[in-house]
């Protein structure tokens, strides 16, 4: 049985001797050499994804004005940001809409503009205090003249997700894209066999403190993501067959690059943001390696009818990502076109970039300081009556 430690792998990285492959490349390598030999040879497998991830945003600290202001309401390019945090901190959520442009521009666009180095209009209001007398300010900020600016994304890198279709006679405009009537199409969103948490299904190496590639910068896994649902049904390969684990991620906005983070608008739904994420998986043993060799044909999800406006949508059928990637699947004996929402092209670029960064010694692996939970009951929001119910 092969056993390697993080320290040993990092030592090899420092000496330029580590063997690194992507989660796509490992599949052929395992087919050629077998698990044992591949686990001996390979030290790191890089995974990546580049998909729309609504639950994202950035904390910003603007610095203090003179006279100072305790901002209670903040707008960035007319997009409201949450300012109930001390005096000059705010959180701009990716999905927040502009009060003047509506769905054309939102928090994700503010984040993209800041990354590009553009000037962003800051407007803030306050009630005024003895220590913070100013009641209103309008100025321009950019990433050079503010203090900290870091993404803090409560739910990224979903381990798996539903595929969507529409049985109704109307076109539906959803976060899963435009769904054509009468089962006119099926959309799905994953990088499948390259996706971080599908390559580490039981969170053996990806945990709190794991260093990651995020938006072109280096960042970290800060916590389990919101709606982290490790108890989702899993296949015999331990891979969830629906929305399961998630990650809260953190990364320095000032170091990011818009090749790997882009604002997105989904028609009649709203704003989201494409986040490029790359996560290295250290090959500590054969089991970890075997899990990274997973193929799209071994990863399944369910197709749901999004015309059912309920959280209990019926699953129409189970489908593998290999079938979804083929461009058509059969639904109720009808051939239906499939389309992804997540860019596999950019995800592959990220996996290659991360591979090169590790090979050059620019990206060193970190051992998680705590594991992500494998048990977590998901609650629902019900309309409740009395205050003690």
């Amino acid at each position: 049985m092969i056993k390697k430690s993080f320290e040993e792998i990092n030592e090899k990285i420092k000496k330029g001797k580590a063997v690194i492959v992507t989660a796509d490349e490992i599949i052929d390598l395992v087919a050629e050499k077998g698990i044992k030999k591949a686990a001996q040879e390979v030290d790191v497998v890089t995974t990546a994804t580049f998909g729309p991830m609504c639950s994202s945003g950035a904390f910003l600290n603007f610095g203090h004005s003179d006279p100072p202001i305790k901002m209670s309401k903040v707008w960035l390019n007319d997009v409201p940001a949450y300012a109930g945090i001390a005096a000059v901190d705010a959180y701009i959520g990716a999905t927040e809409l502009s009060e003047t442009k509506g769905m054309e521009y939102g928090g994700a666009h503010v984040i993209e503009d800041l990354i590009k180095g553009k000037n962003v209009k800051l407007h803030a209001k306050s009630y005024g205090t003895d220590c913070y007398p100013l009641k209103e300010i309008t100025t321009f900020i950019n990433k050079k003249n503010i203090n900290q600016a870091f993404l803090f994304n409560p739910r990224n890198a979903y381990q798996n997700y539903a595929a969507a279709t529409n049985s109704s006679d109307k076109t539906l405009y959803t976060y899963m894209g435009t769904l054509l009537p009468d089962y006119g199409n099926v959309t799905y969103s994953t990088s499948g066999q390259l996706s971080p948490l599908l390559n580490d299904p039981e969170y053996r190496t990806i945990g709190i403190g794991t260093r990651i590639f995020i938006g072109g910068a280096q960042g970290y896994v800060a916590w389990e993501g919101t709606q982290h649902n490790p108890e989702q049904n899993r296949g015999t390969n331990k891979v969830p067959i629906g929305a399961a684990g998630t990650l809260t991620l953190i990364g320095d906005l000032k170091q990011m690059n818009t090749n790997f983070i882009r604002a997105a608008v989904y028609e009649k739904y709203g704003i989201s943001i494409f986040i490029g994420i790359g996560i290295p998986i250290p090959i500590l043993d054969e089991d970890i390696l075997e899990k990274t060799a997973i193929k799209d044909s071994q990863i399944f999800t369910n197709v749901y009818d999004y015309s059912v406006q309920s959280r209990k949508r019926p699953a129409i059928r189970s489908v593998s990502y290999e079938e979804l990637r083929s461009g058509t699947i059969k639904l109720n004996n009808k051939k239906v076109s499939t389309a992804p929402l997540s860019s596999l092209k950019v995800a592959r670029e990220i996996a290659q970039i991360l591979k090169k960064q590790i090979a050059k010694g620019d990206f060193v692996l970190t051992q998680p300081v705590a594991h992500l939970p494998l048990k977590n009951k998901m609650n629902t929001l019900d309309i409740r009556g009395g205050k003690d119910e």
Binding site: F274, R325, G327, S343, L344
Partner: protein, 135 residues
Amino acid sequence: MNKIKICLYFPPNKVTVPLSYHLIKNFDLQLNILHADIDLAKTGKLIMDVLGEKKNIEKGLKFIEQQGIKYKIFNKTIIWQEDKCIHCGACTAVCPSGALKLGTIDCMLTFDKEECLVCELCIKSCPLNVMSVAF
């Protein structure tokens, strides 16, 4: 030789007219049907490329009109800003003709203008706003 792209709108009582036969035989036009949505007793829609001498195309269009069939010439084209595209594939979900396609191996988007029906569905379905229409 000239080439135009047209959309024909058949009223319910005209869907049985053998229009393409006459256009080919009488006006020496080459037709390439791109999209057809025709049902007996219902209105029909036919999108096609028409290739031929300019005067023959004009005569053919006049003939179409005389049959009580309305038409629209596409004078618009879809512009794809490839350098800004992230190749996510959301546009391929709505493209009716398959003009927008994702490669099965390289997962890169390709756009075949010849196949495009200029339905403009891709413009709004693109989350990055990289598709537009030009006149």
